[in-house]
Structures are given as C-alpha cells and as structure tokens.
Amino acid sequence: MKRTGFIVGFLAPAVLIYLALVLVPLGQALIFSAYQWRGVSAKRKFVGADNFRELAGDHDFLRSVTNNLWLLVGAGVVIIAVSLVVAHLTAAPGKSAKMLRGFSLVPQMVSLVAVAVLWQFIFNPEGLLNATLRGAGLTSWTRTWLGDSHFALAGVGVAFAWYAVGFYALLFGAGLRNIPAEVNEAAELDGSQGWNRFTQITWPMLWSVKRTAITYLVINVMNTFALVFLMTRGGPDRASDTMLTYLYEQAFVNSKFGYATAVAVGNFAVAMILSLAILFFLRRDPTSSQNKAAA
C-alpha cells in the first residue's frame, strides 16, 4: 500500500499536467466541433455531427489532406534520404565531419518565419533560383515557383526539408553510433561494403530510429502551418493548402470556429491513423527476430 502511494505520488504531477494540457483541450475540441460557433461571442448552437458531415463532403478539406500526404511522401523521402547521407558523413572521424554536423543543424536554430522568408527570396521570380537557372543558360526552366500550381507545394516541401534535415540527421547519427562495432567489423570481414552493407546491415539495424523518425515526420508534416502560410498562404488556388492553413481560414477568416475545430479533429484523426499504421507496420524489430532465429 505504501509502495502504491509512493508510485502514485510520483506519477500524479505528470498525469495531472498531461490531463490539463493535453486531454482536456482535446476533449474541449471534440465538444466545440459539435457546435456552430462564430468565435466572437459566447453564443453557440449545437449541431451534432453536422460539422463532420460537411467536412466529409468538403472538397477543399480533402484537397488539403491530399496536399499534406504529398508533403509527407515527397518531403519525407527527401528528408530521410538526405539525413541518412548527412548522418553517414558526420559519423566519420575528423574536423570536417564535426563542422558538417554543426552546419546541418543551423536551419533548426533559425525560426520558421526566417526560413519562409529565405525560401521566398530564393523562389521569387527575380530570386536566386531563377537567377542561377538564367546564369546556367536554362532560362526556359525559370518559373514563378510559388505562384505556379504545379510547383508551389513542392517549393514548400523543399523549404521544409531544408529546415528538417538537421534534426533527422542527428537522429540517424545517434542510430548509426548505436550499431555495435562488432556487427560492422563482421560485415567488413564478410566483404560487405557500400550499398550492400547499407541495405543488409545498416538500414535494418536502424529499425527503432526509423520508426521514431517516420512517426515524427508524420506529426510534423500534419502540423505544417507557418511555412505554408508565410510562403504561399495555401495558394495558388489552394494548390498548397494544408489542413492547418485550411483550419486557420475557417476559424479566423470565415469565423466558423465550430467547423474549424472539426477540421482540427480531422487533422488529429489523420495524424493518429498514420502514426498507428507506422507503429503497426514497424512493430517487429527485424534484427531481433533474426537474432532469435540465429539463437
């Protein structure tokens, strides 16, 4: 009994904080989503599941979900690939590796507003990218990158990847250092090198980091707001709208706070389903099963 009280005493503060700051707001969001509320007075009208019915048939919302998924797939693949390369480069001994590790983290130290402004400048019709293309004689490749419905979302994705790579490189770097030296040595003795060693040894051994990284990515991409809002405002013609920019529009432009909360619940559901799917598909550590089989 004394031991139970001891444990409860230690758990209580964390549980209470989690309850107050996470579960209660989530519950409130669920409640608000059942109301029609303009957000400028205390008057609310209960509409049951009407907001969700509207959401299910809202093409603009579905488009924003699709955009989020494209960002996840497009930027996600780039982020994982580049951060793995950076992690390998920074894992090597030497000063240059240390410097690279430092540089790769610089974008993480910059505020997202500054990142958005920087990439706006790069993608500006008179900006760095078009100037470089013109300089290289590729004038026909120049575009109004953020004003073009085919490139705006990709432009945001590039800025997001630039910002995020440092963090994931750090994560994968830690994963690489956790691969036991004897495993790498054994692989080397067996003649496994380069791409073969990466696919057969490194990639499987990064299982837990991979799982964490992809889950983080899902959460980060589903929560993308500032970059899109500042770089394109979801345009042109909703080509780069994401769930949270759509939520913002519904709440703060259209004064549909109840509906916006339903969008938030939808956003939460999508992020939760994706995260659970990742945890499900990556639930088994392939290396541990191999170990068991070997045993």
Binding site: N124, E126, P236
Partner: protein, 448 residues
C-alpha cells in the same frame, strides 16, 4: 434578448450632447428627457488597430478628451494584430468601450452575434461642434457601409480609395500619360513594354487587389454599377454576366499580351509594390495606403500618383465611379462605459480633429469638409476623384461572403496561370455565389 435589454438600457441613458454652445470634446450625456446632464466619468478603454497610421492620433485625442472630462480616465492601447486580442475579450463579455478592431476582424459576425451597439440614436444627436447632427457630419456614402437592416453599427473614420498608381516622373520623361480608357491602356502598355519595363504589376498572392483594381471596376464600367451591385447582392447569374465576363476577358488579354509583369502571380503585396517603386513596373492597382506602406523602401527620386482604373469605351458605367473602403470603429454591446466611448469618437470625428488627422496622416476622412486643408501632394488626385465621383461604392462582398471571395480569388489566380479561360473563371465565380446563396447558415446582405 440580452442584447435587446442592453439596447434599452443604453437608450434610457439617452445619449446626447447638450447645447450647441458646448466646445468640442466637453461631453455631457443627457438624462432621459434631456433636462439634466451628467458628466462622463469612470474608466474609458479604447483598443485600436495599430496599422500604418499608428496610435498617436488616437492617444492624443484620448488625452485631450480626458482633460476635458476630468472624471474620466481614458486609456488607449493598440496592436498590429489587435483583432486576435479582441476576440477572446468579446467572447468573455469584457470588451473595451470603444474599439477599432482592424481589417482582419469579421465585423459582420459581430453584428450578427449582437456584439455591437446600434448607434443611430447617438448619430441623430448634435455633432461635436453643435452644427447639425453627428450623422450629417459624415459622408452618407461612407456611413451607409456600416448599416444593416436600417441600423448603423459601424462608424467610418478614415477612407481608403482604390485605384491605380504610376510614377509621374517616369511618365513625363517618356511622354506617357495615365490612361483614361482601356483602349488607351493597351496602347500605353505596348509603349512601356517596348522600353523593357513591365507595364503593370500586381499583388498575386493577394488576388483581391486585382478583383478591386480591375475586375469589379471594369464590370462597373461595362455594365454600370448595377452589374456590381447585383454580384454583391448574389443575384442569380450576376457573377457570370456579360459585364463580368468582359472584365475577366480584359484581364486575360493583358496577361496574354505580356502586359502584366511576369511572375507577379507569385508575388506578395510588398514584393510587387517594391517592383513598382523601383521602376521595374510602370503601374500597379492598389489602395490609398500605398505611399505610406512603401515609404521605407521608396527611392527618393521615385514618386507615385493615383488615378482611377481606365474605363471601357462605350460602357454603361459612369466614368467617375470610385471604389472606397473603410476600417470601422464600433461600440461593443458589453462595453462598461459605452457613453464615454461614443462621446470620445464624436470628438475624434469633429471637423478640427478630422482635419488634423488628414494633415498628419495623409489620408482622406469620412467627415465632410475634412479635406479642406492644405492637402499633401499625394492626396490631391484622390480627393479630386472622390469629390467628382457621382457613384461611390465599396466591395462589401469580400467582408460579407469570405468563403465565396476566396473561391473567386483562387479562380482568378488560376486564370492568370492560364488554367482557366475567362468563361470558366466566371462560371466558377457564379458557382461560388450559388453555394453562398444556398447556404442558409450564411447571413445575406444587400448593398444599400
């Protein structure tokens, strides 16, 4: 019901300025029956949008008003994103006594929710200088923009005019003149383009600049103001009328002929306006705030001058038609000291104070006679155009039907990107209007 009770409670106070002999600002409120008066007292909180005109004039007016009413403690605060601070206060029922919530507050939602006081009784009381009623001191074309169902909830202060801008220095040097008609515009654009300058730039990330600078003014020029009024009033078919289609076709023509700056579709307002002030584009549609907004980055040699959007030859519309806008002030229904809020605003809109604002902030005001001062050079053409305008209108559709406006703006961008024809564009506009018409949860309004 609560709102009605509050309204009667305030009516019982019978807000009025007593006697024509009262100097401006020395406010007294008449008791019911108007026979006795009481001094304003207590706290008066004013919360204002801190935009390009700052807060200093509001603070000064508040200080002066406080000095004239020693029992009143006036506090003026503001913020560039003040609407975000005001929303929770309005929900909690603790708003300020007088507020200017800025351009991003959904003021029509405030009216629908009964959050604002109707101000007609106060407007029918004498003006601050005692000459006529307070209502008479406002330009009626501007005052009506804050009315719903015959009641006035939103009071105008400064007036924004919408049109186009050019650099007179550049135009004179090249022998160009600001085009009065669309035909002249086409000829001029060809000349400008030949000089290697983009004839027109625009704020592509914010398509409403083009809606208000080209689409709707041209529709009004082609089909008369009724064409635009019908569109604003959601009359079936109005958004795909011949006037709107022709106006869209004109924009498409400018785009296809290369008269609209390449890449402007992806530019923010500051990016495109910087192109203009740096002479990379010759003309830009924008509101009257352009000079103050771009003051910091405008080269000393650059100048800018306002002109009305070119009209369409043979159009039904009156060529003097002018588009204006206001950012209104209002009294919350839950204000603790609404009388004082009303009286302070009456003082702020008195002729001497309005003239002071015109002179210090270089903007036109909604108060009659406020432009009878030595106007700064940049304001002269706007003031002349406004005085000469036989028809003055405002794009209220944008604040009434925000979702439809967003659809229309998106469709305009797609047309500029070559993804929609003008016909497809107006069809999308009409579909957005139809969706609004059918949505019973969206309150409907009429241009008055």
């Amino acid at each position: 019901m609560k709102g009605i009770f509050q309204w009667f409670a305030i009516s019982a106070l019978a807000i009025s300025v007593v006697g024509c002999s009262q100097p401006a600002g020395s406010a007294k409120v008449s008791e019911p029956g108007g026979s006795t008066t009481k001094e304003l007292k207590g706290d008066l909180e004013v919360v204002a949008f801190k935009g390009g005109y700052g807060l200093d004039q509001y603070e000064k007016a508040g200080k002066e008003f406080g000095e004239k009413n020693p029992d009143l403690k006036v506090k003026v605060t503001g913020d560039p994103r003040v609407w975000l601070q005001l929303r929770p206060r309005l929900v909690a029922g603790t708003p300020p006594d007088l507020m200017f919530p800025g351009w991003d507050m959904d003021v029509w939602a405030l009216i629908e929710e009964g959050q604002l006081k109707p101000l007609d009784e106060a407007l029918d009381q004498p003006a601050a200088d005692g000459k006529g009623t307070w209502r008479d001191s406002f330009d009626p074309n501007v005052l009506k923009l804050g009315q719903k169902d015959g009641k006035t909830y939103l009071l105008p202060y400064y007036v924004m005019t919408y049109g186009w801008w050019f650099d007179p220095g550049v135009f004179t040097k090249n022998g160009w003149t600001a085009p009065k008609t669309y035909a002249e515009l086409l000829t001029l654009c060809e000349k400008i383009k030949a000089k290697g300058i983009a004839p027109i730039t625009y704020q592509g990330q914010y398509p409403y600049y083009m809606v208000e600078g080209m689409l709707l003014p041209w529709a009004a020029s082609i089909g008369g103001i009724e064409a635009v009024n019908d569109a604003q009033n959601l009359v079936p078919g109005a958004w795909k009328s011949d006037a709107l289609l022709k106006a869209a076709t004109m924009i498409d023509e400018l785009n296809k002929k290369g008269y609209l700056q390449a890449g402007a579709v992806g530019m923010s307002h500051t990016e495109s306006q910087t192109q203009f002030v740096n002479g990379k584009a010759a003309m830009i549609p924008c509101g009257s705030w352009l000079p103050s907004e771009m003051k910091e980055v405008t080269p000393p040699t650059a100048k800018m001058q306002f002109f009305l959007p070119p009209v369409v030859d043979g159009g039904k519309g009156d060529p003097s038609t002018m588009l204006i806008g206001v950012e209104p002030w209002m009294i919350p229904n839950d204000a603790k000291n609404p009388d004082a809020g009303i009286e302070l605003f009456r003082y702020m809109t008195s002729l001497p104070k309005a003239k002071e604002f015109v002179e210090t902030k270089n903007t036109l005001m909604a108060i009659k006679g406020s432009d009878e001062v030595k106007l700064p050079e940049v304001l002269v053409p706007q003031s002349a155009a406004l005085k000469a305008a036989k028809t003055v209108w405002s794009n209220q559709f944008r604040s009434w039907y925000k979702a439809a406006e967003k659809d229309i703006e998106g469709a305009l961008t797609s047309m500029l990107n070559g993804e929609l024809t003008p016909r497809q564009f107006v069809d999308r506009c009409e579909a957005a209007a139809e969706k609004t018409r059918k949505d019973s949860s969206i309150p409907k309004y009429k241009v008055s």
